[in-house]
């Protein structure tokens, strides 16, 4: 009886629901919105903003606070040929609930953007300002050869991560463009666009110069789609111009001069017959031509720019094979060969939220140099931002040094550069029922393996390569650093992961992974580059003679402008010796990483709507990353030693109709036992050093060439943070 009544009710109601479908499409204008409420908590006690991480000058980061964003969406369809849409959106930034509405002036502590939301009513970071976003007009003329013309915002999602990729900066559609899309034949589609070049970052020195409003990029993509083969051709042409300073006669207008040109060409072939085999090939060629009179002509060891300071050209290519269950036994295989040139440069390549390689790469918990993920932790005032935990999951790979992980929280994916990578990846996979077991083996060699930046005719502190935090430092690799002055590196990544569902209750999702990374980097491998002559520092408390060794006439890696400098002789607690070990052997900067991580997790549908996961991860890294002579290129915390890191993660997801709630708590604890070798006198932190770099007074360590402190004490880490959110559509 109950069955019949239920049947009747359900059928009637579904009939109502289906009939409603036809009645909902009468409106031609729609106003809707979404509001995000975020709750951050963490024991780092930063409250510079409601994002965990940024590098942008003047913006803050933090792991504490509550705040709300609102996004109003307006769209209209004036007629069948036109669509108009836009958003008005506030930002989390420093708009904490504790601001009490943002009234009042600043207390003066917000200059670096880390002032805890007290920049006051007259500062855009904390006055709950809203901005116009995503204003777009789309015309769909219904012409045979043109589907749509778009004016305004776009995310470039129709293009390609190697050439013009998705570029998020707060929003995913910050770019503005004029774009036409359509079909020339049934199989041949085109996308053609003129992009207004973002002045914030799309050029040398992260900018497009003073005359920015006319800077542009043109893109053309042709896609031929067949039943078995798809072929895509892409061209991109970036033109950054300036007003010619030499044209002082304005009566006939003013001439322009080029600041930066970047041309990129690509072709992709996708072969997908109906059987189990599919193959893909992609080839890209780039030319990058900065005007060196208007842009940086060279960099020191840690230069910051997304553009190499010279005319360069290079290519990037990859080949993929996807073999899906060819024998009907659940076994599949994916393979990839890749080669990304050291000088490959597309200024509009995807900066994040893309993954151009098959490998899962490194783990995002080690995205920054040093044991604590500090940007420049060897100096005071540069403490970690994202924190010891880093980001969750593995890194995503992007084909640019212009990587952008700005305004992210710890639960979001982080990206790393693959400029210079070459190698292969094999991913075997076996699926049967609910069980999936997959593996990966990746071998990476580097096109950036060179000595003295690949050009021994230049001084070591004058390179064309912007190295940012410098490649290869720390357990992982600084995410946007592709270049180092000396590199002779290979990386091997191997992993096995599995997941299944156990038939307990509603089904328990169980998953796990074990992964290893073996990495060796000889860095300097030629004695001609040693900074000082053999026997320069005899030891026994005798001062070094400081006789430089020259790799080219007048050029040395030692001395005032070099990477390395001989140590003074000091006496500490009656022990006399060098302040740090002299760099007198090619092994002094050697890197050898033996890395393992293990993950085990389970997920369960706790109620009809709540899904929960519990994950444990263990990381173990035995790292030799140079000794006290190397000093991480003088800039970063030395990471040589034994690292152990544990993570416990609790996740909850709770969708409720038009709302969603989420909860992510992560407890990370671990230990770093430094091992910086020998050959120096152990020093002890005084009160000033202790305060500057956050170590106990009297703890052992050594001060480097520029006074940066590397602690020899075992460091115990305990990092907790959580992010909870509530998202409501209305």
């Amino acid at each position: 009886m109950r069955f019949l009544r239920s049947t009747a009710i359900l059928l009637v109601l579904l009939l109502v629901a289906a009939a409603g479908y036809g009645q909902q499409q009468q409106s031609t204008m729609n106003i809707s919105g979404v509001t995000y409420t975020k709750w951050l908590w963490g024991n780092q006690r930063y409250d510079g903003s409601l994002y965990n991480f940024t590098n942008v000058p003047g913006e803050g980061w933090g792991d504490n606070g509550q705040g709300t964003e609102i996004e109003l969406l307006v769209s209209a369809k004036p007629n069948r040929f036109l669509e108009v849409s836009g958003r008005i959106h506030s930002r989390f930034s420093q708009n904490f609930w504790t601001n009490f509405g943002g009234f009042g002036g600043s207390d003066g502590s917000c200059g670096d953007g880390n002032g805890g939301g007290d920049c006051g009513e007259f500062d855009s970071r904390s006055n709950q300002y809203v901005k116009l976003r995503g204003m777009t007009v789309r015309v769909t003329p219904g012409w045979k050869y043109m589907d749509a013309v778009t004016f305004g915002s776009t995310d470039l999602g129709m293009f390609d991560a190697f050439t013009m990729g998705k570029i998020r900066y707060i929003d995913r559609d910050n770019l503005n463009a004029l774009m036409a899309q359509g079909s020339l034949t049934d199989n041949l589609r085109y996308d053609i666009t003129r992009i207004s070049l973002p002045r914030l970052w799309a050029g040398p020195n992260y900018g497009t110069g003073e005359f920015a409003s006319d800077d542009s990029a043109y893109g053309l993509q042709l896609r031929w789609t067949g039943p078995v083969v798809d072929v895509t051709g892409i061209g991109q042409f970036v033109n950054d111009v300036e007003v010619d300073a030499g044209d002082i006669i304005v009566d006939d207008g003013r001439e322009l001069t080029n600041r930066y040109e970047n041309n990129v060409y690509g072709v992709k072939v996708d072969v997908h017959p109906s059987g189990p085999y599919a193959f893909r090939a992609a080839y890209y060629y780039s030319e990058s031509n900065p005007n060196l009179t208007l842009t940086p002509a060279g960099f020191g060891p840690n230069g910051y720019s997304p553009v190499i300071a010279d005319d360069v050209s290079d290519n990037a290519w990859k080949l993929n094979a996807d073999i899906t269950d060819p024998f009907g036994n659940g076994f599949s295989l994916n393979a990839e060969i890749f080669n990304i040139g050291a000088d490959y440069l597309s200024i509009l390549a995807a900066r994040r939220e893309s993954d151009v390689l098959l490998t899962e790469g490194r783990d995002a918990t080690w995205a920054y140099p040093g044991p604590s993920n500090a940007s420049y932790g060897v100096f005071g005032g540069n403490a970690t931002r994202i924190g010891y935990s880093g980001w969750q999951g593995n890194m995503q790979q992007v084909a640019t040094i212009n990587v952008d992980n700005e305004f992210t929280d710890f639960d979001e994916p982080a990206a790393e550069t693959v400029i210079g990578w070459k190698g292969f990846t094999i991913v075997p996979r076996w699926q049967r029922g609910n069980l999936e077991i997959a593996g990966e083996y990746t071998k990476i060699d580097y096109n950036t393996n060179w000595q003295a930046w690949g050009d021994p005719t230049r001084a070591i502190d004058n390179t064309i390569y912007p190295a940012a935090e410098i490649a290869g430092i720390g357990v992982g690799n600084p995410y946007r650093s592709a270049y180092a002055p000396f590199q002779d590196k290979t990386t091997d990544i191997a992993l096995v992961r599995a997941k299944t569902t156990l038939n307990f209750g509603k089904g328990v999702d169980v998953f796990g992974k074990i992964k290893t990374i073996q990495e060796e980097d000889k860095r300097m491998n030629d004695a001609r580059y040693l900074p000082y002559q053999s026997g320069d520092c005899p030891g026994g408390g005798v001062a070094c003679a400081n006789k430089q060794n020259f790799y080219s006439p007048g050029l040395s890696t030692g001395g005032g402008n070099g990477l390395y400098e001989n140590p003074p002789v000091i006496t500490v607690n009656g022990v006399t010796g060098y302040k740090w070990a002299p760099f007198d052997d090619l092994s002094d900067d050697d890197r050898d990483l033996d890395y393992m991580m293990f993950q085990l997790g389970a997920g369960y549908q706790l109620t009809d709507v709540i899904y929960g996961s519990l994950i444990y991860e263990y990381y173990d890294a035995d790292l030799k990353d140079g000794n006290s002579a190397f000093q991480a290129y003088r800039l970063h915390e030395l990471a040589s030693g034994q690292h152990e890191k544990n993570k416990v993660i609790v996740l909850l997801k709770f969708p409720i109709g038009g709302a969603e709630a989420g909860f992510n708590y992560e407890y990370t604890f671990g230990e770093f036992q430094p091992d910086f070798g020998s050959g120096f006198v152990v020093q002890y932190a005084d009160a000033t050093t202790a305060k500057n770099v956050g170590v106990p007074v009297g703890s052992p360590g050594f001060a480097g060439r520029y006074g940066g402190w590397n602690s020899l004490a075992t460091r115990e880490f305990d990092h907790q943070h959580l992010k909870a959110y509530f998202k409501v559509r209305f």
Partner: protein, 310 residues
């Protein structure tokens, strides 16, 4: 201890036991155009062939039936990418390994004309021929828990509207409970799913569907899934009407949009957003899906298909 270990090993190994093929439903390759006018969204998430259903096979396995749907192109797997302003990851929402489509199977188990339901799930925009009216629906969707919860909400909301139309304001708790339970009685959203290349396999327990019979007929329909757009307001601007009423179905609109299917004529509100359906032999999908009348407020009607048994 050893007994516990054995139990765990059994639970892992149980799904490995291969089932016997029961039947196959075939569909022409290259007909992922719905009414013939439907066009994929101009989005990197879709490409011609992605939602082109080629076949549906069923296997008898321990405890139920394993369905295997094959598409013309490899199924797009959700990446780990942020899809909204709060940091939600696509692969956390679409945990089953796909995110671009829904696959609905309406099963007529009694073979009695006029017995069962002729409606379809919200948002699909078609009706079922009374001759093959369904008794059970299997809806493979990227977010089954969300869809199930949403459907219950829709059913309750419609009951409230119906109640109000009758001059009453309160829906009793007993009725609410009964309605929620009825969703589970008639609609199943698979959660045991695996994706491999062009194929997605999903398990339907016998406790829901019973043992498939040769007399049963099936309506199989593929629609676009609205999982990303539902979560990402930035890509959801031109939604017309209440998105939640469409049960995660990507709608169809005029022009060539980026976030919906294109190809509709203005005010042609009854053009179904279905990309590919299996129609009986001798019938043409374009004709079937185009056989609606907006002026008369009449939706297209799909007829069940008998499977070819192995």
């Amino acid at each position: 201890m050893h007994k516990s270990l054995l139990a765990v090993l059994f639970l892992i190994a149980a799904p490995l036991l291969a089932g016997d093929a029961i039947f196959t439903l075939n569909d022409p390759r290259g007909d992922d155009y719905g009414t013939g006018r439907l066009q994929y969204p101009m989005s990197a998430d879709y490409q011609k062939g992605d939602l082109d259903l080629v076949s549906v096979r069923a296997f008898r396995v321990s405890g139920g039936t394993q369905f295997e749907a094959k598409f013309a192109r490899p199924i797009r797997q959700p990446e780990r990418r942020t899809i909204d302003g709060i940091g939600t990851q696509l692969d956390q929402v679409a945990r089953l390994g796909f995110y671009t489509f829904n696959l609905d199977i309406y099963v007529d188990t009694d073979g009695v004309a006029g017995s069962g339901s002729t409606t379809t799930l919200p948002g699909r925009g078609v009706m079922i021929d009374p001759a093959t009216a369904w008794e059970k629906v299997i809806s493979l969707t990227p977010d089954p828990q969300g869809a199930r919860s949403e459907l219950k909400r829709i059913v309750l909301r419609d009951e409230r509207r119906r109640t109000e139309a009758e001059g009453r304001r309160v829906v009793s708790d007993e009725t609410k409970d009964e309605l929620r339970a009825s969703v589970d009685d008639f609609v199943f959203f698979p959660t045991q799913v695996r994706v491999a290349g062009n194929t997605v396999s999903f398990f339907v327990p016998a406790s829901f569907l019973g043992e498939p019979q040769k007399e049963w007929s099936y309506v199989v329909a593929v629609s676009g899934a609205d999982i990303v757009q539902r979560l990402d307001q930035q890509n959801r601007l031109m939604r017309i009407g209440d998105a939640s009423e469409t049960l995660m179905t990507l709608p169809v609109a005029t022009g060539r949009p980026t976030d919906r299917f294109g190809g509709a004529v203005e005010h042609d509100d009854y053009m179904p957003p279905l990309v590919d359906v299996i129609v009986p032999a001798g019938e043409d999908q374009k004709d079937v899906l185009s056989n609606y009348d907006t002026n008369a407020e009449r939706a297209a009607v799909l007829k069940g298909v008998r499977a070819v048994w192995d």
